[in-house]
Structures are given as C-alpha cells and as structure tokens.
Amino acid sequence: MKLLTSNFLKCSVKACDNSNENFPLRYDANCQLQQDESIDCNPEFLINILERVDWNALVQVASDLGNKSLPPQKPELSPGDDLTDDDLAIIRDMHSLLIQTSIVEGQMSCRNCGHVYYIKNGIPNLLLPPHLA
C-alpha cells in the first residue's frame, strides 16, 4: 500500500467515528517498506495532492515509520506558478515519500480502540472480525 493511502484510512469500528483518534492509524515501526522507482514524478499531480493532503496525519505516519524529517507546516506550492529549484526539490521528496514508498508487510492500530489491522503482500486488511462488525 502506497504511503499516501494512509491519509485516507481510518479505523473501521463504527464507535470510533465519535473520537478524533481513529485517524490516522498508528503504524508499527517494524513495517517493511519498499521503494518503487518505476513511477515517474508528475509535479502537477504532486501539487494537487499536497493541496488536499492532511499534513498533520502525514507527519505522524511518517514519524511512526521512522521518518522524522517532514516540516511541521505543509509546504506551500500552487499550480501554475513558476517552480523554483527549491520547489522542485520538495516535489521530488514528496513523490518519493508519498507515491514511491509502499508498506508491504506490517501492522497498524487504532489510536482509540487499539484494534490491530495487518498489511500483507502490500494489501491492507481493514475488515473487522464478526463480533466487531
């Protein structure tokens, strides 16, 4: 699962919807990551993503996974602007983190109820056991 996907996944337990702790999930530090260089960087796509992304959630997940280098504030880039070299460097970093990085094996849990979800073979399983569904 690509790292950016963590920005869209919350706990499946209905009762957790009433808490602010069900998103993002907490990712285990031992998650196994993989880098896929085959996807080309498309600056416009990345700018559109940045505009939409929940930055705090991203910073938190990256830090769970051992990357503490993200700035606390979302980088400001707008489409149509002439991009400076610095902007392009940010875009390349974001591309490498959000799109090229995937979690292939590992687990994550809800910060509210503690339920653990697994990622196997790159596919996260967010189904609940029958007694929680």
Partner: protein, 222 residues
C-alpha cells in the same frame, strides 16, 4: 469508443465481467466530460467499491477518468481474490504508473469521511433470502466469495442501501456517485426517496440484459 481493459482471472472466485460491468463502462464513458469539468485542476479521489476483476477501475485508469493530472484510485473489496485480480488487471493493462491502492474492506467503513470525489459501485444486487456471511478464511470454499458478489438480500438492496444511507458521509462536497441497479431493486422508488433527502439523482443509462433491465443512477448534492 474508449478501449476496454483486457481481463483474465479465475471466474470461480471472482465475478466475471458481464452486462452490468459493461453498462458501467459505457455510462462512465458517457460521463467523461461531465467529470472532467467537475474535477478540473484538482486532485480526484476515486473509490470503486467491489472492483471484482478490476475491469472498471482499470478502465478509469486507462482512460484518465476523471482526468489525467491527478486521480488517486482506491479499490475496496471484501474479497481478497478480487483485490489480487484488480492488481493483476492494472499490470496487464500497463497502468502501473497510475496511483492505485487496493484495500480489503467492508464497504467504505475504513475510509476517512467525506474524502471520496468519485464513487463507483456495481453492487451485489440479486434479490435473495439474505446476504451470505463472509467466509471465515481466504481459502474457504472459493465459490462462497462469488455468492458475496451476487446476492443482495431483500430486494437485492441490503448492501446498496448501506451505501446510500452513508452517502452523505462518504462523498466530498463535490462528490459524485454512480451506482448500478437492476429492475427488481425498484430503482425509481429508491431514487425518489434519495431526492426527498436532498440529493440530485439522475438516470444516466439503462439497458435490457436478457430478462433483466439494468440502470445506472448518478447521485450528487443539490
């Protein structure tokens, strides 16, 4: 006519593309410019529920629907076999450079609320005594997964109803949903009750398929 993906998978476990799947492709092709305009210059989060073989999501990726510069495709199925098939379809049709994540999930329970811009669903719509239970393990009698692809409980609407009831928390402010119905789902009644709850609902395409009439409705906020 837009190209149709090449699909090959084990149809003993995964729903084989049928008239309903093809109607969905035709409907989405027809909606292409509507969607392009609606999501111009912005990221679109596309979520297909129940991708099965992956034919619909791959069609969207292949043809840059809603648009080329930025769609994120999320394919959510309850069946692990469907998710494998969907990844396979992506590879087979040279769409590896598109952003796709497949997720095993019961409907949209795991999705952050109000984040989906384009929702597409060809649900299990065949009327049946009840919706079958989920097999207890991936390896269990594989045909049980196929029952889940077809059987929709009372009026064939039990699963679709859950999605419609949640639509307001699933879709983003500009979100659009395309959902397929068969005549026995009584889609006109369903559409009318959604209109009364403030949705703009339009029939975008319908077709006779054998003795069944299939239709696709589009749901947006008023």
């Amino acid at each position: 006519m837009l190209p149709t993906p090449y699909i090959k998978c084990d149809y003993e476990t995964v729903y084989e593309p049928c008239e309903d799947s093809f109607l969905l492709l035709d409907g989405l092709e027809q909606e292409q410019s509507f969607l392009q305009t609606r999501f111009r210059n912005q990221l679109a989060i596309v979520c297909e529920l129940g991708p099965g073989s992956g034919i619909v999501t791959t069609f969207l990726m292949q043809n840059d629907i809603p648009h080329g510069n930025g769609s994120i495709y999320l394919a959510l199925d309850i069946s692990p076999w469907a998710l494998e098939a969907t990844q396979d379809a992506q590879r087979r049709n040279d769409c590896q450079n598109r952003y796709l994540s497949v997720i095993q999930s019961d409907l949209t329970k795991c999705l952050r609320q109000n984040s989906t811009d384009l929702l597409v669903f060809n649900p299990p719509y065949v009327p049946a005594e009840q919706v079958p239970d989920r097999p207890s393990s991936n390896e269990n009698d594989k045909s049980q997964w196929l029952d889940l692809a077809l059987l929709g409980g009372e009026d064939g609407m039990v699963i679709t109803r859950q999605v419609l009831d949640q639509l307001d928390t699933i879709l983003s402010q500009q979100g659009v949903a395309y959902i397929l119905f068969c005549a026995r789902n009584k889609p006109e009644q369903v559409a009318e009750s959604m209109r009364q709850q403030g949705w703009k609902v339009d029939l975008i395409i319908n077709r006779k398929a054998g003795w069944e009439v299939l239709s696709i409705y589009r749901f947006i906020r008023q």
